[in-house]
Amino acid sequence: MRIRTHLPFVFTAPTMAVLAVLAFVPTIDAVNIALQNRELSNPDSVYVGFANFRMLFSDPRFLNSVWVSVEWEVITVAATMAVAIPLAILMFEATSPRARNALCVLFIVPALLPRVSAAFVWRFAFHPLFGLAVYPLRLITGHPIDLLADPHTAMATVAIVDVWQWGLLFAVIIVKLLETLPRQPLEAALLDHARTWEVYAYVALPMLRGALISLVFVKMVESLRAFDLIYVMTRGGPGISTETLDMYAFSQGFIESGRISYASSMAVLMMIATTAAFTILWRRVRRWQEV
């Protein structure tokens, strides 16, 4: 486009160099540490090859944490979209533009809160003895219920907080996207005697397909960062029913015996798995977006 200038090089090279160092040094060192048997309390350690990785696969707690992580991904992504899309449609259909703008600002608030704050606000609300959220249930049944202590409901309860933060934010995003859609196709469909929900299902949402897929992708990446919520609300309990992979890695590296190498091997596996999965998905997403 332009004359020859050094600007692109000057502006990108140093930044890329810094990024490369910041990103690659830890990731390579993670592999390095995973191949040792290092513990926090002990500065000397030897290389043990793949011993840590072999131990992982026979560790039932590790396998449980993989399962819990997958469960968590599926539940939160599905629930977020299941809340965001209908809510966005309802907001688009049933509110005046001014009310809609006010609601949009309101619904961004949970996403801005630090995860720690959101986790605490809801942990407080769900407290079996004096939580506001469970108060109606307590009135009806007379018994306090402890959602976070029951292995069957603990994960769902933490998921509620995640969906509270992300689902509402996504609803705002989708509403704004709906607002930018051209009106003609929608009106044409209505003239064809389509019912409202059909208009959305067959016309509006498919027009937003690219964006929606991007949102799902973003949520999938973000769901991996659920550590903050789980750490504050359950610490991986009750038992190990909400112990995701990052929670288990943290436990091993810190809370329990400081087995940094073991934790690192888990982190390496996580890195490889997520980078591979997301790269593949990203390529697909791009292709769908271009359509």
Partner: protein, 273 residues
């Protein structure tokens, strides 16, 4: 008739959604003013004897002050680094066709795929060995990775939206490429860029896992201090916890207006672009 009913149902659902945001937060705010005895009752109390003790305790606590200071310094510095290095880089990628443009964009995006645990663990060891464990420097360096990646990722579309004509005109007028960047592109795109920078600020302000693993007493950021208070266990000081959570959440909320507008403009032009 059917229309009326469904509109009512729709409004009810939206009201529930709005309530789910307002009620818990208001309740937390309210409880920050309660004495412990008014919180630990079986029936939630709306009317009670308010007290400022909790907020005062939180504000006076040495660890809270340290945490607040650390958060401000660490977030501020890493955001500045992210902006200083990231904005020019994003501009170059957006405006200058390069062989590696796509690869750079993908590389930056892939940095967001990294699970924080994965980089935190080796960083603990690295910082321990270098002797910089539990220092603000270590946190700033680590967070710069996040701010750089985020700023670049969000600024590229912002720069792309700057109309090429303006830049062409400036070029014709004899402005050099650097001048165009500083005097034309930046000012024109500044609204979106502010949004990107603020977004990266909120991101590192709220960041918890890396701070938890890389600090122990000197460089603790506010989220870590707040979480330690929520995990006290014995005689849980609910009033104080509520107050500290409110304090922690205020800075990001201050940027609510900015971010809301940023989101709107980003999405509006996205579909037109």
């Amino acid at each position: 008739m059917a229309r009326g009913v469904s509109a009512f149902v729709a409004r009810a659902v939206i009201a529930v959604g709005a309530a789910s945001v307002v009620v818990p937060l208001l309740w937390t705010l309210l409880s920050g003013f309660k004495n412990r005895v008014d919180i630990v009752t079986p029936t939630p109390m709306l009317f009670f004897h308010p007290t400022l003790e909790n907020f005062l305790y939180v504000a006076e606590r040495e660890s809270v002050r340290t945490g607040l200071l650390n958060s401000i310094i660490v977030s501020g510095c890493s955001v500045l680094i992210g902006a200083a290095l990231g904005l020019p880089c994003a501009y170059a990628v957006a405006r200058y066709p390069m062989r590696f443009a796509h690869d750079i964009q993908f590389f930056v995006l892939s940095l967001r795929f990294l699970p924080p645990v994965a980089i935190a663990i080796p960083l603990i060891v690295i910082w321990l060995d270098v002797g910089l464990y539990d220092t603000r420097v270590a946190l700033v360096v680590t967070y710069s990775l996040l701010t750089l990646a985020t700023t670049i990722w969000l600024a590229i579309p912002a720069f792309k939206r700057v109309p090429a004509e303006i830049e062409e005109a400036a070029f014709v007028d004899g402005y050099g490429p650097y001048a165009i960047f500083f005097l034309i592109a930046l000012p024109v795109a500044w609204k979106s860029l502010i949004g990107a920078v603020v977004f990266s600020f909120v991101l590192v302000w709220n960041e918890f896992l890396i701070a938890l693993m890389l600090t122990t007493s000197d460089a603790k950021t506010l989220p870590v201090v707040a979480s330690e208070m929520t995990q006290l266990g014995r005689d849980v000081p609910w009033g104080i916890l509520n107050a500290s959570v409110i304090l922690l959440s205020l800075p990001p909320l201050l940027f609510l207006g900015v971010l809301s507008r940023f989101l709107s403009s980003a999405l509006k032009t996205r579909n037109q672009g």
